[in-house]
Amino acid sequence: MRDKLYKWIPWVVLFIVLIIYPHVAGIYYTNFFVRFAIYALFAVSLNLLLGYMGVLSFGHAMFFGTGAYMTAIVLTHIEGFPLLPAVLVGGVTGGVLALILSPLLVRVSGTAFAMLTLAFGQLIFVAALKFREVTGGEDGVGGYPIPPLSIPGIISIDMKDQVSFYYFAVVVVAICLYILWYYTKTPFGSLIVGIRDNAMRVSYLGFKLSHTKAINLIVSGVFAGIAGAIFALFQNLVSTIGVLDIGNCFLPLLMAYIGGIGSFFGPIVGSAVLHVLEFLVIRFTERIGLVNGVIFIVVVLFAPMGLVGLLRMVKERWFTRSANQMSTGTSS
């Protein structure tokens, strides 16, 4: 009973910190946190494919981007479109895109999968540039109304207020992350990891690979799309730069690796680390991209298990050492 209580304490602390944060940290850091949260969700959605299913989605920005664009477009053209559906629209769009691509994507893995997703990512980037009437081309879609969070007749919270938006975004991201965490703990989630280790065996055990992979792809697409939708609401401007370009494909990948692709929380840690890093580095140079690139190479070369992975390794060594000490009565 006491153990269970202990487990809950960090979460309660976190909850309290999150609530008082904007009042303590100020507007700038509040927005900073929102950006971290958006990318945490984006990176976790990527990791469903990378760490869990073992495939590199190199065009993942396309799910984020189509979600963001769809939310922006819907808010621009449909008057009075409410807040939550606007977020769901982004998620559904990401999921639909994944669904459309899945017949092709489930047939490949490894380099071919990376290539296909890269190609489709580029395709959508180019399409967004060319179909100006819909996407605004390079200028993008912007200045759309941000609907309030409202329950008719009861309450209406203005989402243009940055503190209110912070709470909204954090709650939505937290719920999404919980759903995804739970997803990885279900029997279906265990299948995904099986596919990573030995896809062939999974099929010989009686599971239809293509359906299983497709569902995981769609889940990943939906939540990347939701991240994009929140982004659209946050920025009030969606254009190709920083949304559909290759840079935005690289960021979640970098975050997942820094934090550790072998853990659910790794990408979240990675998003935090990267945002803090960017914040620190910006004081000295604008070339944050170069720093990111170097960090990525360093991580891949020397610490591919990421920070969470390193932590686990340290924990294991520490425990085996104390176990040895206890059993042999000496220090090893």
Binding site: K185, G189, V193, G206, F207
Partner: protein, 249 residues
Amino acid sequence: MNILETKGLYHDFSGLEVLFNINFQVEEGERHAVIGPNGAGKTTLFNVITGTYTPRRGKVFFKNKEITGAKPHRLARIGMGRSFQITSTFSRLTTFQNLRMGILSKRGIRFNLFRKLDKMKTITNETDEVLKRINLDGERDIPASLLSYGKHRSLEVSLAMSTDPELVMLDEPTAGMSKDETHTAVELIRRLTEGKTMVIIEHDMDVIFSLADRITVLHLGEILAVGTPNEIRENQAVKDAYLGEMEEE
């Protein structure tokens, strides 16, 4: 009843002919060995039966229903299990998690997105029971890749049976094992295949003669002989083609 039967099976790989007019029969409940020199087509036969390949010509029947060209996952669902010559487990998952995958399939839990797997007591208990039965409960939480060779092979074979198939196809289960490991493995296989039908590819003659009810001898893609171990031992053609090699070992 013949639980498994092939009729006129022919297969080639881009012109390289591997199986000719194979009429292979396995009676329900028997332990049937497939032997033959390397290159005889044994694994190809397995691959055709278990859905890895669709044969160029001929048909395959399982429980009197045609299954030619059916995909592996479908065959697993209708009662066929297969182990691999080269160990093919979930290397980063624990022994427990490996077997649990098969148990989930056996119980038809394929798209459950709603319950926490670790909390599903029946699944956990059933998997633990299986672990005990195959003597791997001591290695429950060890990643498969860290198992000793013999235990890893045991896991490989157990994985094939984790879906509780009626027909178990084992491809050289004792490959690379020491004498002791082989002995343990044979006992395990005997115990686990009680009441099931088993087809086994093997090179180790001791294993075959201690396990098999009947033997099919394959040579250069054709069935050379079918019979009880004693009949095969006496068969001159078989001796010429194959057992002569064996005696040299």
